[in-house]
């Protein structure tokens, strides 16, 4: 997993680095001309500054995830975590005119984990679902988040959207570090989600729904009862 994360990091940094290098070398060429085009040089420098900020932002966002040290492992109520995230995406849900349904199992046992990281996973999957429905008809935009207990030792979270679903070919590639269907995406959201869930001893996968849309699933082990 760390190898894939490193590959994602390399990719996310390579983009601004490519732009910085090309802009810097273009500026050198402009300055070498007998009549230097200073406007172009100025524009190159402004873009270099922007892309440097962008590279720093990638590092800042990853620093939290790549930090050594143990995950915080505290018992937590996933339903509560989901409700906290719902509050965060509330305005997105309204702006995007999506019907959000929560189907949370009230008897869900606690899991052990890092609250902030698990919040990040739920947030990412929900935003992913919301964005996927950008081209879906207004009256068909529905996002369902549910929690259940498939067996005594496992808690399962499902985030279900109603877009056109993923093409079969995308299904295998969606977790690849380079893969994204969204130009503006950081390109590593799902990969990071999967690494967080696996670090918690769970699994994360995606499947197309029978009717329409796709569902992201993740499981987490139920906290051992204290003897």
């Amino acid at each position: 997993m760390m190898g894939e994360l490193a590959a994602s990091l390399a990719h996310e940094l390579n983009q601004p680095l490519t732009a910085i290098l090309s802009n810097a070398e273009a500026a050198q060429h402009f300055l070498d001309a007998s009549l230097p085009d200073l406007e172009e040089v100025r524009a190159s420098l402004a873009d270099i500054v922007d892309d440097d900020h962008r590279a720093s932002e990638v590092i800042r966002r990853l620093r939290g995830l790549l930090q050594k040290g143990e995950l915080e492992r505290l018992p937590l109520d996933l339903n509560q975590t989901i409700r906290e995230v719902v509050r965060l995406v509330h305005s997105d849900v309204i702006i995007r005119q999506v019907a959000l349904t929560l189907a949370l199992d009230p008897a869900l046992p606690p899991v052990c984990g890092d609250r902030v990281q698990l919040q990040q996973v739920v947030l990412n999957l929900m935003l992913n679902g919301l964005e996927a429905m950008t081209d879906t008809g207004l009256d068909e935009r529905a996002l369902i988040v549910c929690t259940k207990r498939p067996d005594a030792h496992t808690v399962q979270v499902e985030v279900q959207d109603s877009d056109s679903g993923l093409a079969e070919v995308n299904m295998d590639r969606i977790f690849e570090p380079f893969y994204t269907t969204k130009p503006a995406d950081m390109g590593m959201g799902l990969l990071i989600c999967r690494s967080i869930i696996e670090a918690h001893g769970g699994r994360l996968w995606v499947a197309n729904n029978l009717a329409r849309g796709a569902t992201f699933y993740f499981t987490l082990p139920v906290t051992e009862e204290t003897p």
Partner: protein
Amino acid sequence: MEPLPLVFIVDDDASVRTSLERLMKSVGLRAETFASSQAFLQRQRHEGPSCLVLDVRLPGLSSLSLQEALAAEGSMIPIIFITGHGNIPMSVRAMKAGAMDFLPKPVRSQDLLEAVQQAIAKAQQARQERAAIADVQRRVQTLTPCERRSYLSWLTAC
């Protein structure tokens, strides 16, 4: 007059697109940029010599599918792939399908500009060859049936 060479750049990252276009401009090359394979395919084909600088990783229609689509429509445009990360199986596939070059990001301008110059030279040469063939074909059309028969027997004797 020969139409000017044109460099096409397809990359989904806006800053990379702008910077590569500027780099081409800084050495006097004209460039046009596109955010996706589809956008490039929709553009009318360029009459003059051209080459394509293509990001390996593209959302939507992939770079390799674009390469296939161009080959299917008979396009001879030389393609220079740039990749953010060493992806060996992909580069092998691209090279086998006729890619001119495969350059890692962040790409050094000297390497890219050399590859672009070579690609344009290749496109120019291919254009001249096609023009020469078209010229021969046109002349054959002007022959009388009798002349054509002797031309064909001369060809088969060669």
